[in-house]
């Protein structure tokens, strides 16, 4: 538990908490982006450069922007109002505590916590690439195919709507 870890942890938690608590949806997304960035830096602190940078590239650069677009396309002033009812808050808190408890229990009881100093993983990009290209080449290709199909499908749907509008 170094100081830098503390700072990053606080940053991440604060970001995600703000993402839940803020009233303006765009602010929420911006706070979430901060949370993502914090997580990315935690990865970096653990020496996982590739994962960290990918986290920034994908989550901050793409997912946050996507979320912003989604908000802009769907929401209007009416849906902005948060549920004010007390019971919803209480229910939310209970669920959150329950999930936390389960996770905490799992972590505490796992063998990983027994290790005082985890060995520094020495995964270079090259190793990741090798792993993806040799051992995990099938899953990778399937994922790629799936995403391509989704992409083409999205384009087709968009084209259909364009023609409808004409």
């Amino acid at each position: 538990m170094t100081t830098s870890f503390m700072i990053l942890a606080v940053l991440t938690v604060a970001g995600t908490a703000a993402a839940m608590g803020l009233r303006n949806a765009v602010h929420c997304v911006l706070a979430l982006a901060l949370g993502f960035a914090g997580i990315a830096m935690l990865y970096l602190q653990l020496g996982a450069q590739f994962v960290g940078f990918t986290q920034i590239l994908v989550y901050v650069g793409a997912v946050a922007i996507l979320a912003v677009f989604a908000i802009m396309m769907t929401h209007n002033d009416k849906s902005m109002a948060l549920p004010d009812s007390h019971s919803a808050w209480v229910a939310g808190c209970i669920v959150a505590v329950a999930v936390f408890a389960v996770l905490a229990r799992a972590i505490v009881s796992s063998s990983a916590s027994a290790q005082t100093q985890p060995p520094q993983p020495a995964a270079t990009v090259q190793q990741i690439g090798n792993a993806l290209m040799h051992r995990f080449v099938m899953p990778l290709e399937i994922m790629g195919l799936l995403l391509t199909a989704a992409l083409i499908g999205a384009v087709v749907i968009a084209m259909d709507r364009r023609e409808e509008m004409k």
Binding site: F69, I71, M72, M73, H75, N76, D77, M165
Partner: protein
């Protein structure tokens, strides 16, 4: 429905208030906008970046020029005509002088006619170069073509200054002729300028004409059909770009244009590129006319000696005189009741009437196209709002 629209709608930024249009974005382009060529405003309703509706709003520069002229003597309106289309004062002077000459039946001496043709065609040159510069500026060409145009315009304005005493507010024509004769050496200087002009046009063309981005931005943008052009009273290069074969210099045989051999370029698509090209080609023809005029200019008086400067009172009646201005048909309609002031003084502003079809040209196009289309129409707000 594009993202920008929806985003704007979600921001609740004063959406268009008509029913069914609340998903659209209404923006006011102007009166303070870099490419409205003055204080002009377009209320544009956008679907994404596509124009759904466009309503021009005029009058920011309105000073009731016509009313001022009705309280002014005939001569007193002459300097005010400079300020109509301040890019080309000499053609404004000419059109007004022509109308008054028709009203009062004044003959213009031959040398004065030559002077008018020379100054008028020089005006056309500088107007067209600047217009192309402005058009490129609207297209985002960071000022380079505009600067070249202005460099060339400066030379022509120097000629104007040497002749009329002012660069822009020339106040040069008089009823029955022109105010002053050519100063010594002016003609040689002008010949040099005109001789150098084709070289400038060559440079301009190699910079612009074959540029792919320019062609992509202008071809098939803002297409104006021949029928609509005639019906909407579109005149000048803009009409000719739509294939309307109508040049008042050829049709009305006014002044001495019959003596010069020149051709009238015609477009076949009626888009922005054609308007741009027609102006380039017209400049070449103007250079032709200028060379002939400066070769043939005779000696003689420059003003009809019978006309008086003071106490000019035409007999009751009316007259409509028009010329082929650089921007289109520039006409003056005058009604005289025998007093020193015109009873009714009307300017037919080509800029304003050419704007009639702005919405038709812009509908369904992009925001970026609006500015290009507006730029290709060639307006000067001094004339539009009068």
């Amino acid at each position: 429905m594009s993202t920008a629209t929806l985003a704007a709608a979600s921001l609740n930024l004063e959406p268009a208030n008509e029913s069914g249009m609340d998903q659209l974005l209404e923006i006011a382009m102007g009166p303070q906008h870099p490419s409205t060529h003055g204080v002009f405003r377009m209320n544009v309703v956008l679907d994404g970046e596509r124009v759904v509706r466009l309503k021009p709003v005029f009058g920011y520069l309105h000073r009731n020029h016509e009313k001022i002229a009705e309280n002014e003597t005939y001569l007193g309106s002459m300097p005010y005509t400079d300020r109509l289309d301040y890019m080309c004062p000499l053609t404004n002077n000419w059109a007004y002088a022509l109308a008054v000459e028709k009203l009062a039946g004044i003959q213009v001496p031959e040398r004065a006619e030559y002077l008018r043709v020379i100054t008028g065609e020089l005006t056309r040159l500088q107007n067209h170069t600047c217009l192309i510069g402005f058009l490129m500026q609207d297209m985002g060409a960071s000022g380079t073509p505009l600067m070249y145009a202005f460099r060339q315009r400066e030379i022509i304005l120097d000629l104007f200054e040497a002749l009329t005493g002012a660069r822009m507010m020339c106040n040069y024509m008089r009823f029955g002729g022109c105010r002053v004769d050519l100063p010594a050496g002016w003609l040689d200087q002008a010949k040099k300028v005109v001789a150098g002009f084709p070289r400038f046009l060559d440079e301009y063309e190699s910079l612009l004409v074959s540029n792919e981005i320019l062609m992509d931005r202008t071809q098939d943008v803002g297409v104006l059909s021949k029928e609509l052009a005639i019906s909407a009273g579109i005149s000048g290069p803009m009409a000719r770009a739509s294939g309307v074969d109508y040049d008042i210099r050829k049709v009305d045989h006014y002044s001495i244009y019959d003596r010069f051999a020149f051709r009238v370029p015609l477009g076949s698509h009626g888009d922005v590129y054609d308007r741009f090209m027609i102006r380039l080609l017209e400049m070449r023809e103007s250079v032709n006319i200028l060379q002939q005029a400066m070769r043939d200019i005779p000696e003689g008086p420059i003003v009809d000696p019978k006309t008086k400067i003071r106490g000019f009172r035409p007999k009751p009646g009316e007259a409509y005189g028009r010329i082929e201005g650089p921007k289109g048909e520039l006409g003056f309609y005058l009604v005289s009741d025998g007093s020193p002031n015109p009873y009714r003084y009307r300017v037919r502003p080509p800029s304003l009437i050419n704007l009639t079809i702005l919405e038709d040209l812009c509908l369904g196009r992009n925001v970026a196209d609006i500015v290009v289309i507006l730029g290709s129409i060639d307006i000067v707000m001094g004339e539009v709002d009068r």
